[in-house]
Symmetry: C2
Subunit: 429 residues, 2 copies
């Protein structure tokens, strides 16, 4: 039996185990600060597979003083990063398979039809927080690795599996893994791309703009300066900046995307009393960063936009706008579409699905930005599940897609890391 066929057959026969494994993972609430029990399941699985384990609590100056480090978490104790290596025989290309174990909060539980940590399976879909983002992807990775081991296939290149914390809050887990020395000739991150292949990812970061006004009684509002009215000027400028920035995006990967790098005004708060003129307005939002752009360059464009307002507007001359970059920050990813890893993954996709994959740029950042920018590792984001359900109630994954992703990734490993010559898959007994 060919290696490919052996893997396909093993994966087909082990679907129930795969679904059960995802269920176990989803049933462990691994929101920020609570990652340990889900990591324990990962560790146990990697141990059973005989992988070389590296389990450590992230932290320390090397990480926390790093310019890319962006995290407000005080302690990582008890919630380790996990890296498990399937060592190759040498001479092949190495690959990192990266999944994050942290999930976002469940939100209002009343909007869920099942308990968010039930892992309930219904009509081929598994429900629960993290099912799509991205425990489904994680199971796809581990099943791919297990399929190699179970069928006795040996690779030349190393397969470096990572289960990291903190992706949802800025990527400190993956940054810690990079700084610990884990880089490779390529990486796949099975975030929910709905089986599209994303060589490029939109980066992003959060901003907070403080707009000053001058208080007055609402009945004589002309004696004050409304921070809300002044904020409207800022919003208008940000909207024009967004247009300008997006006009410059010519990459065909963004052809179908209405706004490749949006500036999202996510929050505005101003005023404390209906009959007072508000004296301060705070705008918060998310600025998209182009794949070929640096965080710093994007920040500079917004800063310049505000500096311009500070020059043009008499009020802002006296009361300059203040910008703060706070909270989340996700580096963009920027792999060429013709990179060998893209070619290999696309070929495997076409072999199995019978059609060419859709290749796009993602509208959100992943840990891939850190892996490629800091770890100099070419990253492709490709995985089962759809973003729409990711951070919402009733998050779920179509199990069939998870198995398909696993198969495509397993075949990619065969080609990328190269199978040892003396070795073919053992017959199933």
């Amino acid at each position: 039996m060919s290696n490919e066929l052996a893997i396909k057959q093993w994966l087909k026969e082990n679907r129930a185990r795969g679904a059960r494994f995802l269920q176990l993972l989803v049933q462990e609430n691994s929101t920020r600060g609570n990652e340990s029990s889900a990591q324990a399941i990962i560790i146990e699985k990697c141990r059973q597979l005989g992988l070389s384990l590296d389990i450590w609590e992230i932290g320390g100056d090397g990480l926390m003083q790093h310019p890319v480090y962006c995290c407000d978490r005080k302690s990582f104790g008890g919630n380790p990063n996990v890296v498990a290596v399937l060592k190759g025989s040498g001479g092949g290309k190495s690959i990192i398979l990266n999944g994050h174990i942290d999930v976002v909060p469940v939100g209002d539980e009343r909007n869920w039809k099942h308990d968010p940590f039930s892992g309930q399976i219904e009509c081929g879909k598994l429900y629960g927080r993290g099912a799509t983002d991205m425990k489904g992807g994680t199971v796809a990775l581990l099943m791919a690795i297990e399929s190699l081991i179970a069928t006795g296939i040996k690779l030349k290149g190393d397969v470096i599996y990572q289960s990291v914390i903190e992706e949802e809050s800025g990527g400190a887990g993956t940054l810690a893994a990079v700084l610990r020395g884990y880089t490779a000739d390529g990486a796949i991150i099975p975030e929910p791309t709905n089986m599209k292949i994303f060589p490029k990812q939109q980066g992003s970061m959060w901003f907070r703009i403080k707009v000053k006004g001058r208080a007055a009684h609402g009945g004589t509002r002309y004696e004050g300066v409304s921070a809300i009215e002044k904020a409207l000027i800022v919003i208008d400028s940000l909207q024009r900046l967004e247009k300008e920035r997006n006009r410059k995006i010519v990459d065909p990967l963004f052809d179908k995307v209405p706004i490749p790098i949006p500036i999202n005004i996510g929050k505005i708060n101003s005023g404390e009393w209906p009959s007072s003129v508000p004296d301060v307005a705070v705008i918060e939002g998310r600025m998209g960063v182009a794949p070929d752009e640096t965080i710093t360059a994007a920040q500079q464009e917004m800063t310049n936009c505000l500096l311009e307002l500070n020059e043009q507007d008499a009020w802002f001359q006296e009361n300059p706008l203040q910008i703060e970059w706070f909270g989340g920050r996700w580096l963009p990813g920027n792999l060429n579409s013709d990179h060998p890893l893209m070619q290999t993954l696309s070929e495997c996709f076409a072999d199995i699905k019978g059609v060419d994959p859709i290749i796009e740029a993602s509208p959100w950042g992943t840990d891939g930005g850190i892996l490629s920018n800091v770890g100099d590792t070419p990253v492709v984001v490709f995985g089962p599940g759809v973003t729409e359900t990711a951070h919402d109630a009733n998050e779920h994954i179509v199990l069939e897609e998870m198995f398909l992703a696993s198969e495509i990734i397993a075949l990619t490993l065969l080609k990328w890391c190269v199978v040892c010559e003396e070795n073919t898959a053992k017959e199933d007994q």
Copy 2:
């Protein structure tokens, strides 16, 4: 000695007592729900003056079911309204002298240079919450009454002094007094007009507009509908409505007022997460009401403005804007400038100051709206102190102005209520 001269002299000789009385009143914190101790001082003073006292806790269905009642206070127990009458001999015109005893909160105490309830006197100014709004006015009224009694002048018309609660929160105290039967041929409310005379007052009420959006991830913000962007459309419409409404104001009393009846956007809150498209925005503000306009008519104009948006905008067609009239509501006041009470007060002003008074329309409502609209009592607002300091830190009053106001009001009482013929002021002994 003429009655006028006797009053002038008495007031001159009793300045220190007047200042001390204001100090005592300011030292009693009479924020909402805490009016009792300041009212106790008022009651004691009225008792010493031999006035007929009516002290009662407001409430009951007659008040609380009244269409003009606008109050969210649960209980009035222990914090009474006070009315004290100096009964006339008959045949003269009656007058209500109305002051509110409630004061607004002190805000951030760190912004005060003295304790807000110190009543500290410095360079002829008395500092403290309520000094200007309007315990200073209250003392001006009580000194005017006392000057009549002390000099033995008897009037034909009744002088009805009122110390009411709840002015700052919608006027339930004055409404209760009207419903208890207290109306008159005229009324003076010594709110801080900076010694200008206001025959007309801008009314106002609060509104809350809810604007819906549709949530989405900020990286694909085009998949959502930003409630903030939709709120901008609403604000733009309100700004146009304000222009239209003010274009219609032709009363010369408003000639020097840039915006006679402003629509103040006092608050906006939208969004919970920088990288989400906000799905709801709440705008709160204060709508000014013209002196010759009803609250209902003004509300209808804003409602129509929103209904128009609900028709024109495809999103609002499906997700109509909602408006709520909540919290404060102050009826406008609308006395003709040539009303006899205006003439009398203006003459007394000119007699004492040597110049004609400035006659304007006030940019804020007072309890005068209720007194004139519900109690059918002609109201003039005139008093010492400036609005600017009223609700702010370091509220203060120039004592000299308070004494001057007292003198003008006392002389107005003589002319309005008419001095009994047999009676002239006793000589000071």
